[in-house]
């Protein structure tokens, strides 16, 4: 790839920033990035923390153990993903996490013909079991699944979710980039379609009415309607989070409301 995947440019930030920010805007709990020993990471969203994997070379199971342990005191379940999934959609994350009811340890998508252990939901209490398996030399996720209750989610089950079916009908959430060509193809795709509304003094010529733009980040969406996020201009994403983070990744189906931060009266 020429450089670590985490650092690959993605619409003004990086693949890692995008993956972390997508999770941060989707889940209520903590988001952590597991870094290899000594690994230098690109900038991350302010609400994302980093934990260092003390052991190198043991593969994704080791990262899984470290990550689950890092959030176990604050969350019962966690969505785990790799850094190179540029089309991960919040609807996919929500669908997977909903498949982790009481008694299920892993929600494992089997999407686009493959098991997706790095786009799956796990009970954080599994951290100890994963560590034990690693100590016994079992480095493959498949060994973990033999020891716990796994709910497999095939394409049909995944797409039974109306939101996911509407937003990501091809399940491109699980597409990753493993070669320069993969990356080039992914990067050349058009930005997602976003619905934009402008309110108050930010609305010009009826622009408070919803209209569609293509934008991969909040900053790009603002530019598309002639705005710059600032102390006086903020955005509400899908009617809840209010933010000025220009790098916040957007996905198909998002609605962005631009409003004046000077809300008094």
């Amino acid at each position: 790839m020429g450089q670590p995947k985490a650092w690959l440019e993605w619409h003004g930030s990086t693949l890692l920033y995008r993956a972390a920010a997508i999770l941060a805007r989707t889940v209520d709990g903590p988001v952590v990035v597991v870094a290899a020993p000594g690994q230098e990471l690109p900038p991350l969203p302010s609400n994302v923390s980093v934990v260092e994997d003390p052991v190198e070379g043991l593969g994704p199971m080791q990262g899984l153990a470290v990550g689950l342990a890092a959030v176990a005191d604050r969350a019962e379940t966690a969505f785990v993903c790799s850094t190179d999934m540029p089309f991960l959609h919040p609807a996919f994350v929500r669908r997977v996490l909903r498949a982790l009811p009481e008694g299920t340890d892993v929600a494992l998508p089997v999407a686009r013909g493959f098991r997706q252990p790095l786009a799956a939901g796990y009970r954080t209490a599994l951290a100890g079991l994963v560590r034990d398996l690693l100590a016994e030399g079992d480095l493959r996720p498949g060994m973990l699944f033999k020891h716990c209750e796994v709910a497999q989610l095939d394409d049909e089950r995944l797409l039974a979710d109306a939101e996911l079916s509407r937003r990501d009908p091809e399940l491109e959430s699980v597409v990753n980039v493993n070669s320069p060509d993969d990356y080039a193809v992914a990067r050349d795709r058009p930005e997602p379609e976003i619905v934009v509304e402008c309110f108050g003094a930010l609305a010009r010529n009826g622009s408070h009415r919803p209209h569609t733009v293509r934008a991969a980040t909040l900053g790009a969406a603002a530019s598309a309607v002639g705005l710059t996020l600032s102390r006086h201009v903020v955005a509400a994403l899908n009617g809840d989070q209010v933010t000025r983070d220009e790098r916040l990744p957007l996905v198909a189906g998002d609605t962005v409301a631009f409003l004046s931060a000077d809300a008094g009266g």
């Binding site: 509304e197 309110f199 108050g200 003094a201 609305a203 009826g206 408070h208 996020l229 600032s230 102390r231 006086h232 903020v234 955005a235 509400a236 899908n238 009617g239 809840d240 989070q241 209010v242 933010t243 000025r244 983070d245 409301a257 409003l259 004046s260 931060a261 000077d262 809300a263 008094g264 009266g265």
Partner: protein, 599 residues
């Protein structure tokens, strides 16, 4: 000699009987510097002049019109005054700010404050100018709107008088009656009832003197600079659409209280939105006296006439009551102005009553959410205090809920008796804290904590320690702006507010005041308000929100739920008490020996 911008004295006026008796009341420079004027000085005066435990509607309860050093200067938005009293609605301190020529003329009677006590034998007007005070019987003004009374009084006494008057609701002691002047209102807390209880229909003031500032060239230069900045992006919203611009934006972020806070989005919001109305209606703009922003937007009404519309009156008489027809909301707003009642408390109390009807707790089947005619009928019942429903609702939602019972207090939209403004606490959790702890009750002007929620810097759905710090900061800023006095709509033009405000104050007064001193002043004013309330019987139990807010999560438009449970609110309140140096019961016990300046 008084510092620049001040006279160094208040005027105490007793209207008992048929003649007004007045006496000067010296204001030591230390008091002026410690409380600044406006709300701060008014609070100090109430501590001194209101007997402990006084009935807010009793003759001895003081009603204070308080000015500041900035009034009469060319600084934009400074033509403001505070009306301060013990609230008939909350039983605690209330203060309402308003902007008009009354501020300038009132101050230039030669006083930093006018304090009225007593009760006239008959409905009267009180005149104050350089020659002293006069009480004139005015039975012919009975039942007139405030605007009509103003016109009649100036016709009788001369056009060079400036007037603050009450409408029929004030005369009838509706507990959220307003005091009006130049079409503006000192709106919250029932100050109009306090004036009505004194049998004063109108206070007329006439300028008689001048007041010097410490650095006239400096003040002029600062005024030019502030005026220039007042045309920038921080005030664009107010200039271009007015406060009604909030409505559609708040609807988009699920913080538009709807049908008595049972929802936070309103399907009829687009019909009431400033953006739509500007396209469909004729709109005129107007400014308060000495203001360069010009936030007032006056819309034409179908069938003729026009009405000034603000976010708060549209929210309270529209979505909160489920009414989406703009002309019905315009009519209701106009009716509130004519009666002289606070639109927020009126809308909140009626919305509560509508929910009571839905639940079978009130036998008034005509009073339904969404029915604009019913809204007008209810307003008339309140304004005339018609027996039964009118009398009940004239007391405000808290007292009415005490009468109706059956748990209706849980959904009465009030804090400390004051009805909630149009900011949904569950989806604005810094604001939730601000609403809960504020001395005036559920109030958006003494705690602009919503700013933090909408800044993009905090998670507005997960209140915590950062939200506490933000609420304290916005409350401090409000305390200074409300005491200096400057319009809050200017706040966005200041990059370093306390530093810049200190510089303005230094130019006017000559005091070598700095940002640190102003921060301490803010803290003193906030604590002095709380100390007054504690003296009047308030406890930590009053620092809360209606049970509905703490027990019923809110469905957001996005599908997420906004929940603010009692534990989270209590935790934030505990943090607030700690930040303010209060004890665990919210009492003022810290080392502030000169909190009330025993001078």
């Amino acid at each position: 000699m008084a510092p620049g911008g001040f006279f160094g004295r208040a005027l105490l006026v007793d209207v008992t009987g048929r003649e007004a008796v007045c006496a000067p009341y010296e204001l030591d420079e230390r008091v002026l510097r410690s409380y600044l004027g406006g709300v701060g000085l008014g609070t100090w005066l109430l501590h001194r002049l209101a007997p402990a435990g006084v009935d807010p509607l009793a003759p001895e309860a003081p009603l204070a019109f308080v000015f500041s050093s900035l009034v009469g200067t060319p600084l934009t938005t400074s033509a403001k005054f505070a009306v301060v009293a013990k609230s008939p609605l909350t039983g605690l301190l209330t203060d309402a700010l308003a902007s008009s020529q009354f501020a300038i003329a009132g101050k230039l009677t030669g006083h930093d404050a006018l304090v009225i006590r007593g009760r006239a034998d008959e409905l009267s007007v009180l005149l104050i100018d350089g020659d002293g005070v006069r009480l004139e019987p005015a039975p012919e003004l009975a039942g007139l709107t405030a605007a009509e009374a103003e016109t009649a009084a100036r016709a009788r006494f001369g056009r060079n008088w400036r007037t603050a008057a009450i409408g029929p609701a004030g005369e009838r002691l509706v507990r959220y009656a307003t005091i009006s002047h130049d079409g503006r209102h000192a709106g919250r807390g029932g100050l109009g009832a306090t004036m009505g209880a004194k049998n004063i229909k109108a206070v007329l003031v006439r300028a008689a003197t001048k007041v010097a500032v410490a650095d006239q060239p400096g003040v002029l230069a600062a005024a030019r600079d502030l005026r220039r900045r007042s045309f920038g992006p921080a005030t664009a919203k107010y200039r271009e659409l007015g406060t009604l611009a909030n409505l559609l934006a708040f609807n988009a972020v699920s913080t538009l209280p709807t049908r008595n806070f049972t929802a936070a989005t309103f399907e009829g919001a687009p019909r009431l939105a400033a953006e739509e109305l500007h396209e469909l209606r004729g709109v005129a703009r107007n400014s308060c006296a000495s203001c360069s922003i010009g936030c007032e937007h006056i819309y034409s009404r179908k069938g003729g006439g026009s009405q000034r519309m603000e976010y708060e009156n549209v929210f309270a008489l529209g979505p909160l009551c489920g009414v989406s027809d703009p002309d019905e909301v315009f009519a209701a707003s106009a009716r509130c102005d004519e009666l002289g009642i606070d639109t927020i408390s009126a809308g909140g109390t009626i919305a509560w009553a509508m929910e009571c009807v839905e639940r079978g707790l009130l036998d008034e089947p005509w009073l339904r959410f969404g029915d604009g005619a019913a809204l007008l009928r209810a307003l008339d019942a309140i304004g005339t205090r018609s027996p039964g429903l009118g009398d009940l609702l004239a007391q405000g939602s808290r007292r009415a809920a005490a009468v109706v019972g059956h748990g209706s207090i849980d959904f009465a939209p009030q804090v400390k008796g004051l009805e909630l403004p149009g900011y949904e606490p569950r989806s604005l959790q810094t604001m939730a804290l601000g609403l809960a702890v504020n001395a005036r009750g559920a109030d958006h002007n003494r705690s602009g904590a919503y700013e933090a929620d909408l800044s993009g810097e905090l998670d507005r759905l997960a209140g915590g320690s950062a939200h506490v710090a933000a609420a304290v900061e916005t409350e401090d800023r409000a305390a200074v702006m409300d005491s200096m006095i400057l319009c809050k709509f200017l706040r966005g033009v200041f990059d370093e507010p306390f530093t810049e405000w200190a510089a303005l104050l230094a130019l006017v007064t000559g005091w070598p005041v700095d940002a640190a001193e102003l921060r301490e002043t803010a803290r003193r004013i906030v604590l002095a308000k709380r100390a007054f309330n504690l003296r009047e019987g308030a406890t930590a139990a009053d620092d809360t929100l209606p049970a509905r807010m703490l027990e019923t999560p809110l469905e957001l438009g996005s599908g997420r739920r906004a929940a603010l449970d009692a534990d989270r609110l209590r935790s934030m309140i505990a943090g607030y008490y700690a930040a303010r140096g209060l004890d665990e019961e919210g009492r003022v016990v810290t080392a502030h020996p000169d909190l009330l300046l025993d001078v």
